[in-house]
Structure formats: structure tokens, C-alpha cells
């Protein structure tokens, strides 16, 4: 267990350093694309930690980790709004939580990578959020518990300009209202 925790930490650090390098090597203006504006300092901090954690630690690292609720981001293929089969457990877990707690409200934030036009990406991000919403509703969540918002390509999780960054940016974030 300890071994796993250490290797997770190492992986996290390695990825963190890598992403720091890549953002340094990219242009100044683009290094700053992650948008934390408009959020309170608390939200900002929470977000600043949550994004790399959910982005980097997914996949193999979480295999066998009992609680899919710990993941709040699902990812998409290029130009697609189809939910990956391996992300279904994440959506199912959140849907079960929402269905059991009618007072909980969630915002599904759709995002895209930077390729293509900004407006088209707003629509694509909305489709991604809607795809997750539809699954949740099929699993018994009430429509009024789910809000969708698309930021298109405006708030990338990773400011890089390669497929490694793009794959982290094509996502829906599951954000619970406080």
C-alpha cells in the first residue's frame, strides 16, 4: 500500500515537472491558459489542486481503488461526445449518489481541446456535458439536479499544444454545488 502511494506520488511529481517544463517551453501567453478567474479563493485553490490530481492520477493508478466517486472527470476522444465505456463506473457512482440525495445539485462542465473554432468547441463541450447528463438521467437522477455548462476550449486543464495535453482537455468535469 505504502509502495503504491509512493509510486503514485512519484508519478504525480514526474508528470508535474513534465508539465511545468512543457509550459515553460511553450509561449508565455499560452502558459497561462488555465482559467481560475471568477472563482472565490477557496474555489480557486480547490480547483487548482483538483485538476492535476484528477487528470494525472486516472487510469492505471486508480485500478482497484474502490471508490469511483473519487474521480470527477471523464474524458473524450477527438471531436467526439461519446462517453468511454471505462468511464461508465464513474458516471454510475455519481448518478447513484445524486439519485440517493435529491438535494444535491451537480454542474457538468464540458471542455474541448484548442483545435477547431471556439464556437464549434462551445457546442461540442455542451454535447459532452449533455452526453453525461443523459446517462445520469437514465440512471435515475432528476433533471433538476443537473446543470450543464460548456466552456469549449476556454479553460484547458493542460495548457500544452500536443496530444498529451489535448487528451486531458477533452473532458467533462463533475462539479457539486456547495
Amino acid at each position: 500500500m505504502l509502495k503504491r502511494a509512493i509510486s503514485l506520488m512519484l508519478m504525480f511529481l514526474a508528470l508535474h515537472v513534465l508539465s511545468a517544463c512543457s509550459s515553460e517551453s511553450t509561449k508565455e501567453g499560452n502558459a497561462a491558459v488555465v482559467d481560475k478567474t471568477g472563482l472565490s479563493d477557496e474555489e480557486k485553490n480547490a480547483k487548482a489542486h483538483a485538476v492535476p490530481a484528477s487528470g494525472e492520477l486516472q487510469g492505471g493508478a486508480l485500478e482497484g481503488a474502490a471508490n469511483p466517486l473519487s474521480r470527477t472527470v471523464v474524458y473524450f476522444d477527438y471531436d467526439s461526445s461519446e462517453v468511454h465505456a471505462e468511464d461508465r463506473p464513474v458516471i454510475e457512482a455519481h448518478a447513484a449518489k445524486l439519485a440517493a440525495n435529491h438535494n444535491l445539485i451537480v454542474t457538468l462542465e464540458g471542455h474541448c481541446d484548442e483545435r477547431g473554432s471556439r464556437e464549434y468547441n462551445l457546442a461540442l463541450g455542451e454535447r459532452r456535458a449533455q452526453a453525461v447528463k443523459k446517462q445520469m438521467m437514465l440512471l435515475g437522477v432528476a433533471a433538476d439536479q443537473i446543470r450543464t455548462v460548456s466552456y469549449g476550449e476556454e479553460r484547458p486543464a493542460d495548457p500544452g499544444h500536443d496530444e498529451a495535453a489535448y487528451s486531458k482537455n477533452r473532458r467533462v468535469e463533475i462539479v457539486y454545488a456547495k
Binding site: 508565455e28 473554432s117 464549434y120 462551445l122 457546442a123 449533455q130 466552456y151
Partner: protein, 408 residues
């Protein structure tokens, strides 16, 4: 912003714009330089450098035509700025070989309007010599993005003269601003703002700053486009669950849904006659451009690049061309489709080229690209031969350009 790089047509027209004479040392604007820069920026003219001029005539009678013929200068512009600091400007466009005045005006101006007057003169020269209306005395809208010291971002919706001078801030927000669109009379701008933590479409009066959210609420409210008569706004909404195109009548605030397909439909653009809307859709599997006839909502496909990606259509002012964003293995570029012949040209080769917007005279397309400092603006002639880059203000990214209409 200012224009920093310019590639011109093979044989730009030589022209000598002589410094305008004035007895007032406090004239705030060098009118001849503004005219010279406009003409050069178009890529269609090669203005003579002032230091190469052997005399500085200000009137027809002061021109020694033989001198200018020896310099192979077919046309010249001479003029005067009145002593009131620019209350009026007179100019004459002269054919050096025939020694005849081609056109000449005395224009009322004011110190604060002198740059605008200079752009108007450049428009008159352009039209007289090229037979096409000039678009120098116009404005552009765009969005700037700055990273603040605390790491937050600052978005600004700005308008400026077409040469980047006189920027004015219409809106400042910590949340994204997108898709500015000019009303046909140039008095209002519609745009998308995330200030309410969701997309909403606003209409703002430029002179008064008064604004109003015309589409807000759950889901997507985006991509506003004014009808040519200024009474309606086409836009994308997902209030009914899927991104669809609606037309909002501004008089009675009613939405009419014009697309009905389980795919993405967005980025509407009105044909100049107001009868059709072009839009982006992935209903065929990949994003392509379609067009719907507003009389019967019949949809037809416009672009057919197999494996390609064509979005964000914009009709040229005369309706003969359509500019769009094309993506292939080489990246995102601006393409121009001739709607009559079907000829399809990719006219840019820079990085992440998007948001094409035609000048009101149809000569140039302004767009957003990505340079060393992030997004910035560039312009290209519709045939791809003339290219310009607009330098961004220090520390700012610039994007989402929209070229305004002719000013009255």
C-alpha cells in the same frame, strides 16, 4: 495594435503621398502618414518614402510634374491641413502623366476626428484608383486576454479603428468573452459573455454602453449573428437539450428554431440578402458547412472535403464567397470557397487560424492566429496574396476579430 508585417501583391501601385502642409505646429495627426500607411497596408500600393521626395508641393500649381515623372511616380496626393488644428483638410489626387486632378475634396474635420478624416481620404484614393470602395475608415471589434499578476485572467471586448488605433474598451470581465458581432448600422455589438458562469448573449449599444442579455439560462447561448436588416439575431442555444440554431426577433423577443437535428448545429451566418443561414454541423459525421433556406428550412450541404473539417462560415459582402475555418493534418487554416465556381482555396498557413471576418468591401479577411505570444490578429486578401499581421499590445493576447460595417 499596429501592422508589423506586410506582404503585398506582385506589382503594387506606386504613389507619392506628400506631407500635408499646415501652418499649425500643433496638428495632432500626420494625415499624409496615416494615408500612406493605409494604402501600404492594403498591399495594393507602394507609397514613396518621404525622404525620397525632392519637393513637397501642397497644391496643384506647386507640382513640378517632370520631377515626379522622372521618379516614375504615376500618381501623387497633395494636401493641406487647416490652421485650426485640423478643422478641415483638403487633398488632391493627381495623375502625374496627364497633370490632371483625378479627384479632390475639402473635408470638414476636427482635431479628434483627424485620423478618421485621413482614413476617409485613403478610402477615396483607393476607390478612385482601384474601382473598389476602400475600407480604411472602418472599425474592428476583438477580445483581448491578459494574465494578471495574481494569475487570474482579464478579458476585454474592445473596438478600434481598422488600423488598430483608438482602442476603446466595451466590456471587461474575469470570465471569457467571445464572438463579437456588429449590428449592420455599426451602432451595437452582440457578444457572448460567461460573466454569469454560463454562456449568455448580450447586445450592447456602443455609444451609451447600455447592454442587455437577450439569451441566457441553462446550457448554451452563443454565436450571435445579426440579420442584414438588423431586426433579428441568429444564435445557437441548447435550451431544448441539443445545440440548435434559433432566430431571435429583437422587437418581440421571440425565438424561432431553424435547425432540428440530433447533431451539433452552430455558428450561423446570414446570407447578404437575408434569405439563408449558413452554419456548422456534424450531421454528416464530420463538421461541415450547411445552409438552410429560411423560407422552407430546407438544408443543403455546402462543403464536401472528405476527411476534412470545415466550420465557422462567413459570406462575403456580395455573397459570392464564403470564408471558413478548415482543418486538415497541417492544422487549422482559413479557406475561401467560391460559391459560384466551387473553387476552394486555403489562404493562410499560420497556426490555429480561426474566426474569419470579411472587410465590408470584401477585399480582406481578418482572422485570429497564434504567434509567439499567444493569439493575435492577422489579415489576408481573399486571394491569399496580401498578408498582414497586427502586433498585439504588450502582455495581451488578441482574438475573435469582427470587422465592422462601412461608417456613415
Amino acid at each position: 495594435m499596429e501592422v508589423v508585417v506586410n506582404t503585398s501583391v506582385n506589382k503594387p501601385l506606386p504613389i507619392a503621398v506628400v506631407p500635408f502642409k499646415t501652418s499649425d505646429p500643433n496638428v495632432p495627426v500626420d494625415v499624409a502618414t496615416v494615408i500612406r500607411n493605409d494604402l501600404e497596408r492594403s498591399g495594393r500600393f507602394a507609397p514613396m518614402p518621404v525622404q525620397d521626395m525632392i519637393s513637397r508641393p501642397a497644391d496643384l500649381s506647386e507640382i513640378h510634374f517632370d520631377d515626379w515623372r522622372r521618379l516614375s511616380m504615376p500618381h501623387m496626393v497633395v494636401g493641406k491641413v487647416d490652421a485650426g488644428g485640423g478643422d478641415s483638410v483638403e487633398f488632391r489626387l493627381v495623375d502625374v502623366y496627364t497633370t490632371r486632378q483625378l479627384t479632390g475634396y475639402r473635408l470638414d474635420s476636427a482635431p479628434a476626428r483627424l485620423r478618421f478624416t485621413a482614413h476617409q481620404i485613403a478610402d477615396i484614393i483607393y476607390e478612385q484608383l482601384l474601382g473598389q470602395k476602400g475600407a480604411f475608415a472602418t472599425r474592428i471589434a476583438y477580445v483581448t486576454v491578459r494574465k494578471l499578476a495574481d494569475g487570474r485572467k482579464q478579458y476585454r471586448l474592445e473596438i478600434a479603428d481598422a488600423d488598430g488605433y483608438n482602442p476603446q474598451v466595451l466590456l471587461e470581465s474575469p470570465q471569457p468573452i467571445l464572438s463579437p458581432a456588429w449590428s449592420p448600422d455599426g451602432g451595437r455589438i452582440a457578444y457572448v459573455s460567461f460573466e454569469g458562469h454560463n454562456s449568455a448573449v448580450y447586445v450592447q449599444d456602443i455609444a451609451t454602453g447600455r447592454r442587455e442579455a437577450v439569451a441566457a439560462g441553462e446550457g448554451l447561448n452563443s454565436a450571435p449573428a445579426w440579420s442584414p436588416d438588423g431586426t433579428r439575431l441568429a444564435m445557437t442555444r441548447s435550451a431544448e437539450g441539443n445545440p440548435e440554431i434559433y432566430v431571435l426577433s429583437l422587437a418581440d423577443r421571440r425565438f424561432q428554431r431553424v435547425t432540428n437535428d440530433p447533431s451539433i448545429d452552430t455558428e450561423p451566418a446570414w446570407s447578404p440578402d437575408g434569405s439563408r443561414l449558413a452554419f456548422s454541423s456534424d450531421r454528416g459525421g464530420q463538421p461541415q458547412v450547411y445552409e438552410t433556406d429560411l423560407a422552407n428550412l430546407q438544408v443543403r450541404r455546402i462543403t464536401f472535403n472528405a476527411g476534412g473539417y470545415n466550420v465557422r462560415p462567413r459570406y462575403s459582402p456580395d455573397g459570392s464567397l464564403m470564408a471558413m475555418v478548415h482543418r486538415d493534418d497541417s492544422g487549422d487554416h482559413i479557406a475561401v470557397l467560391n460559391l459560384k465556381t466551387g473553387q476552394y482555396n486555403i489562404v493562410t498557413d499560420t497556426r490555429f487560424d480561426e474566426s474569419p471576418s470579411f472587410a465590408p468591401n470584401g477585399s480582406m479577411i481578418i482572422y485570429s492566429t497564434t504567434g509567439a505570444g499567444g493569439t493575435e490578429l492577422a489579415a489576408v486578401s481573399v486571394d491569399g496574396r496580401v498578408r498582414q499581421r497586427l502586433a498585439s499590445p504588450p502582455g495581451a493576447e488578441v482574438r475573435e476579430p469582427a470587422w465592422g460595417p462601412f461608417r456613415k
